[in-house]
Symmetry: C2
Subunit: 332 residues, 2 copies
DNA sequence: TTGAAAGCGCTAACAT
DNA sequence: ATGTTAGCGCTTTCAA
């Protein structure tokens, strides 16, 4: 029997006798044959490899995204190369290069910044993940519905009597920051609040960054009550520690609202009230989109996954006893 | 100019004229040439790919290990395929198969259970990570020094007046459990404590598991003070929540000691006192060992990384006012 | 339905 | 120092 017939049997082609197929499959089982994906990739141009570039693998939110992507990839018998860029342009560029050299069939990318040259040059099918999509309108993307998320958060803050929350944002270099801020501003305008009057500090999406930002916020002087909306949970958790270190209490003196829905938020004290993104679903959905992209049918376009509020104990309810407006909270 | 000369220039071989090399490199730059790792792998048998199989990518400890491995791999211009087995034998087996088919040069593996058949059949160089090493004495391994870690923990517990702590362990199927328990017993014997009298419950290394285990522990009846040594931080954090839910206080009523050193432990209230493993270093070291293994020089053998105590607020100090022995704590 | 043969991009003998 | 050649394991024409 020739190699071709065997190959056809192995790859499940139709033009093979049932008898021949069985003989091949049996033999393969006996010998313990395992097809060499490398060689297949060489000829067919498809490696069965997918890439994922996220900013921080140790951030539970991104780990959750990675897990979702991994699972969905496995369901389609593909493997996932996970890279953490650590918010570093150089690292990101080298990861992109590694992905290309490994001849991945496609990649899911959360770009570090607004330098999209590397992406333009990427040359392989890819899907954006996170908030960077709007700078790349031609590319499919999956992210959370920031507009909806911010609205949920604002509605909750207002319902609890916090009409002018301070903000702890991501670094200026990140597109997600602008996206968050713009949406926030829109909601302020809707509520006749002047957003420029609200205190805001930049963090870097890490616990330490949130901690430092909160210290700066506190140093601005104190109102009766300060409410803070942090752009991610890790910063919110850091902020909470800073509050305690300052001899203040959360939520009695300072209310904190997070964004992400990481598990650790359930174990802080008080528990972190937060707007939760569906990380796992985002990862899975991104893989689906990537498959469409690879197949040349970018049906999805931009996908925005809905978020939901997880109510725990980090926000004081100011609405009950004294429903007043504290515009400029945190400035004293 | 022939392909060979070009190839030699590109791969940095010595037997090429400087002039020829420069011409090749220039041309490569102009064309934007990028070597095809697949083809290289095909001929040379090396893909530049490494595999990592961990039980849970969303557990911050393992994420830290993955990050360390990733970094070290990148330093040697290799890529890492990260797989999460989720403590499932079938998943693990399929990941191992994926690794083999992708023709990784080697893998770092934390086996799910004691079914080592898959590993025996793996056929590629690999290094064990975690506690499973002792079942595979012939294989290089990297893990934390459990004996030292347990001693540190016990010394601290005893120093604070907790002579008979309860235990929240991992599932019976995991080797790490036996390792932890055996070491614990040895330390008990050294201190004239009967380990069989101490209450212990099984968890599954998740927050939920720790939560449930603590509830069972509490249901056994209460001593004046209960001290608990959890086999990992996530379970310790879950236990802490259970304590609060039971209307008890940590550390006043229940002291908790964790094991891992995950960042979230710093944001619980009280902060989690824990024995911290060097996750990142373990990941990096494992890659080093793997390189040795691939090169056919298994110099390292078994590497045990030292752990250290991180003192936060989850343990009460019983030693000051009443230095007594509460053997059988938690039984009433 | 099957076989023969070419070739994916590269490397490693070997010959020059 | 350079060129020539064979071949890694597979898929895919093209003929039979």
């Amino acid at each position: 029997m020739s190699k071709s017939t065997a190959a056809r049997a192995l790859s499940g082609a139709s033009n093979v006798t049932d008898e021949a197929r069985e003989r091949v499959l049996d033999a393969a089982r006996v010998v313990g044959y395992e097809r060499n994906d490398l060689a297949v990739g060489m000829r067919s141009g498809r490696t069965g490899l997918l890439g994922l570039v996220i900013p921080d693998i140790t951030n539970p939110f991104w780990a959750e995204v990675a897990r979702g992507a991994q699972d969905r990839a496995a369901q389609n018998s593909m493997s996932l190369l996970v890279f953490s860029s650590d918010w570093d342009h150089g690292r990101e560029a080298s990861h992109l290069r590694a992905l290309r050299q490994a001849r991945v069939d496609g990649a899911i990318i959360n770009p570090v910044g607004d330098n999209f040259d590397d992406l333009d040059r990427f040359g392989l099918p890819f899907v954006l993940i996170g908030s960077s999509a709007e700078r790349f309108p031609a590319t499919s993307s999956v992210g959370s519905d920031i507009a909806q998320a911010v609205r949920i958060g604002m509605d909750y803050l207002v319902a609890k009597g916090h009409h002018a929350p301070a903000l702890i944002l991501g670094p200026k270099s990140r597109i997600a920051r602008a996206r968050f801020l713009r949406t926030f501003h829109e909601h302020c305008v809707e509520r006749d609040v002047d957003p420029s009057a609200l205190p805001m500090e930049d963090g870097d999406y890490t616990v330490e960054g949130g901690h430092a930002a909160m210290k700066r916020l506190l140093a601005r002087g104190r109102a009766r009550h300060l409410a803070v909306f942090a752009a991610n949970d890790m910063m919110a958790l850091g902020a909470m520690v800073a509050v305690r270190e300052a001899g203040l209490r959360c939520p009695e003196d300072v209310s904190i609202l997070g964004f992400d829905g990481v598990p650790a938020g359930a174990f802080s004290w008080p528990g972190l009230t937060t707007v939760a993104k569906p990380g796992r679903e985002i990862g899975m959905r991104a893989v689906d989109c990537l498959f469409d992209e690879i197949a040349g049918r970018p049906e999805h376009g931009r996908v925005f996954m809905p978020c939901r509020l997880v109510e725990r104990g980090s926000l004081a309810d100011l609405s009950v006893d004294q429903p007043r407006r504290t515009a400029g909270a945190g400035r004293g």
